[in-house]
């Protein structure tokens, strides 16, 4: 047994987040850890990678009892962690990042650049990539950055690799490439702890599955023959009957019409209409222009050509503020960077966009604010102990609910959702789907940009597929299949 964890327990401020959890990892095995946000997955990872120490319980490596008091010690023991947001230095080159802190030295004094570059190139080649090792990391796409993080782990001769949602922001092709890499590591005897929300991957690449719920170990099983429905039942603790609410088919009047919208190098000739009570999906591979289009609709960037009509009136936004005045709302894919005020209470995070209606002579009506915030909390069932609690203490799914709630408080009529369920668990996901459903029933319009095809198919009245900045296909709900979307998105005309 490569790694064995016995009765690990950890609590923060009296709240037990891991309760006597057992876990083991064999050599050359991919062991998935599944569970909702807040189930204890991240805490478990933190304990193994030396970010935190357990309150109780033992960690055995090769049968020897070890303590992992720091990340440095974890690295020394051959444990590498690849996080969702890669911990790379954007302004350094690939080679510098891979060897950060362990640069090969010339005369024990100067960095041996040529050797570093050679080594980096070798490792990248091994992974099937051919970047130039002197490229700056900030110029790489997210998946490429992840590859660099993996290369960093390999160069450290790691024996246990922890991957925390590695595919969360990857396209299908990039995922395939990652899975091939994982196969190679397996054959070399590396043990991989794989954390994911995407159940499909479990069947494809994992050998065993451990499911956690509310900080407790639920089950460990062979992945073979463990079907998705069963897994969900274990994760949620009850049978999930309606994963997706019914798709709205009846739509109302036209809300928005976009004609010939274009921005150089990002998207061109975008035409579509959106009706009241309609969920319009945008599919596409990474960099197909969907996010950029969302930003343009919201006034975050200016467009070069074309026009937007909102309720038959031509609008042109110079800032998100103007878009919000027209009752637009945007939930960005990156809630940490572009959404949350992490040190502010949940209530203020909820009301920030609706303050225009909650003030009198510039003074905030606090009573009204509190009551609006509370309404949103209850409608979305945001789990927290107190609306005055800082949002940073909430789990990812609940934070995302707050991002939705912001537009509920602002009383938006159009919701632009860019990857609304990125990195949140199934329970929270299906709750958000219900919220989306309720909103469209009130006659709101929804634009959903997502790389999760099953989400688009399960949710949207219509799906527009983008490829290299153009809309290449329009698919009604009843004809939507993953195959059709994928072939259009990759530029093969159906």
């Amino acid at each position: 047994m490569l790694l064995q964890l016995n009765n690990l327990t950890k609590s923060y401020f009296g709240v037990t987040v891991l309760d006597h959890v057992n876990f083991d990892l064999k050599q050359g095995e991919v062991h998935a850890i599944l569970g909702q946000n807040g189930a204890g997955k991240s805490t478990l990872v933190k304990l193994i990678s030396g970010v935190e120490e357990p309150d109780n319980g033992e960690i055995y490596l090769d049968g020897n009892l070890v303590r992992i008091p720091s990340t440095l010690e974890a690295q020394r023991l051959g444990i590498s962690t690849i996080y969702q947001e890669t911990a790379l230095v954007p302004n350094m080159t690939i080679a510098e990042n891979i060897f950060l802190g362990r640069e090969p030295k010339l005369f024990g004094l100067f960095t041996h650049y040529s050797k570093m570059k050679r080594e980096a190139k070798k490792i990248l080649k091994q992974l099937g990539y051919s970047f130039h090792p002197t490229t700056l990391v900030r110029d790489l796409s997210i998946s490429e950055q992840q590859t660099v993080a993996i290369a960093k782990a390999i160069s450290r001769q790691c024996r246990i690799m922890i991957m925390d949602e590695p595919t969360a922001s990857l396209t299908e092709q990039e995922c395939d490439r990652l899975f091939r890499m994982i196969e190679t590591f397996k054959s070399e005897g590396v043990g991989i702890i794989y954390i994911t929300h995407r159940l499909k991957e479990v069947q494809g690449i994992c050998d065993r599955v451990t499911i956690l719920r509310d900080g407790q170990h639920v089950i460990t099983r062979e992945a073979k023959g463990f079907n998705e429905k069963e897994i969900i039942t274990y994760i949620v603790g009850k049978e999930l009957s309606h994963y997706f609410p019914p798709v709205p088919i009846e739509v109302g009047e036209e809300l928005m019409r976009v004609v010939g919208l274009g921005k150089r190098n990002q998207f061109t000739d975008i035409d579509f209409t959106l009706h009241e009570g309609e969920i319009l999906g945008f599919a596409g591979l990474a960099d197909s222009g969907g996010s950029e289009l969302a930003n343009a609709l919201f006034g975050r960037v200016r467009t070069d050509e074309g026009s937007i009509y909102w309720r038959n009136e031509k609008v042109e936004f110079r800032s998100p503020r103007q878009a919000i005045h027209h009752r637009f709302g945007l939930v960005d894919r990156d809630r940490a960077k572009a959404g949350m005020f992490s040190d502010m209470p949940v209530s203020r995070n909820l009301t920030i966009s609706g303050l225009r209606r909650l003030n009198k002579w510039q003074f905030i009506n606090e009573q009204k604010e509190q009551s609006k915030a509370l309404d949103a909390v209850l409608q979305l069932d945001i789990k927290m102990i107190d609306p005055e609690q800082e949002i940073k203490f909430l789990s990812g799914g609940n934070q995302q609910k707050v991002m939705f709630g912001r537009w509920l408080v602002a009383d938006s009529d159009l919701y632009i959702l860019n990857e609304p369920t990125c990195g949140i668990d199934i329970g929270a996901k299906s709750e958000l789907y219900v919220v989306i459903h309720e909103l469209v029933q009130e006659g709101k319009g929804m634009i959903v940009i997502s790389s999760d095809l099953s989400e688009l198919i399960g949710l949207c009245t219509r799906i527009l597929v983008m490829h290299e900045g153009r809309i290449v296909d329009q698919i009604l709900h009843e004809f939507a299949t993953e195959e059709r979307i994928l072939s259009a998105a990759s530029g093969l005309q159906s």
């Binding site: 005020f341 040190d343 502010m344 510039q362």
Partner: protein
């Protein structure tokens, strides 16, 4: 039913609020500790005259710090306040001599000058996207130089002799300058905690991108914050000139920006923006003043006092960096 019950649960959490409330008063607590230690070790420290003295000394840095506080909450700097003070002071003095304006009009002109300079700073930062550090350093040079040129490097005197009654006089035993200081502190507190502008300032300081995407008028906020900072420095000029009925174009306001920044940091504000309260800044100013007053009483050379200030700022920033 269930929802109502949950609603009740969520609204009855006073106990947690009380704990948070105490945590917010860390700077007040540290100030009181310094106060108690100083009172116990020096006989003269805790006397009415000395208390009045401390408050009078604190009023100058205090009024400026209240303005700069807005800028610091945005995660920006205003290093021009010393120079704004001297140019506003020059306007106050010169307007009396050149145009023969009434003293009240001169004071207003001085404050307006500060406001305009702050507005210009903010405008360049918001629309030119020049970092505030650079912009305000430039303003620092430009306006100091302008004042020096006008006053030929010397002092400018006013001609209304009773003006010094404002700076030196007292009402009901309390120095006159303390009253405007309290009014400004209370209004600043109200602006920051009760108004849209205040909410937006905290939001912008914490996460500029999220603030813009939530509909905060970001440029307007930046400009307003700097205009407030400039206005406060203009009021500082009134304080300064009312002491001696003159302004020294070469020495008035020198290093004020640094004293102000130290006071704000000691008061618990985060230089990265988004965190800090007016009460904290007021306590920070009082702490600095009390310490230097105490050292004067203990016959520590004034030349050495910078060392203690420096160490104090270092210790506080060090503790913050350990926490964050």
């Amino acid at each position: 039913m269930l929802i109502n019950k949950r609603r009740m649960q969520l609204t009855h959490l006073e106990r947690i609020h009380a704990i948070k409330w105490l945590a917010n008063y860390k700077s007040l607590a540290s100030m009181l500790i310094i106060f108690v230690i100083a009172s116990m070790t020096s006989h003269y420290f805790f006397t009415w005259e000395n208390m009045v003295n401390i408050v009078r000394q604190a009023s100058m840095i205090g009024i400026i710090a209240l303005g700069v506080h807005f800028v610091v909450l945005l995660g920006m700097f205003d290093l021009s306040v010393g120079s704004v003070l001297v140019i506003s002071g020059t306007v106050i003095m010169a307007s009396q001599n050149v145009f023969g304006t009434d003293i009240f009009l001169s004071m207003i002109l001085g404050v307006v000058t500060g406001c305009i300079v702050g507005f210009l700073n903010g405008f360049i930062i918001a629309y030119g996207r020049v970092p505030s550090f650079i912009t305000t350093i430039a303003a620092m040079f430009i306006f100091r130089s302008l004042a020096l040129w006008y006053g030929s490097g010397g002092a400018l005197n006013g001609n209304y002799i009773r003006y010094t009654e404002l700076g030196h006089g007292s009402t009901w035993g309390i120095p006159n300058l303390v009253f405007p200081l309290i009014v400004v502190a209370v209004s600043a507190h109200i602006i920051l905690t009760k108004t849209l502008l205040g909410r937006y300032i905290y939001a912008l300081g914490q996460n500029p991108m999220a603030a813009s995407l939530s509909g905060a008028p970001t440029r307007w906020i930046v400009i307003t914050a700097f205009a407030i900072s400039g206005t406060a420095a203009g009021m500082g000029a009134v304080f300064e000139t009312s002491r001696l009925n003159s302004i020294s174009t070469s020495t008035s306001g020198i290093f004020y920006e640094l004293d102000v920044m130290s006071a704000i940091v000691i008061g618990g504000s985060n230089l990265k923006g988004g965190k800090g309260s007016i009460l904290g800044t007021v306590c920070g100013v009082l702490m600095l003043t009390m310490i230097s007053n105490y050292m004067n009483l203990q016959n520590v050379s004034p030349y050495l006092q910078g060392i203690l200030k420096g160490i104090l700022v270092l210790v506080i920033l060090y503790r913050k960096s350990r926490k964050g």
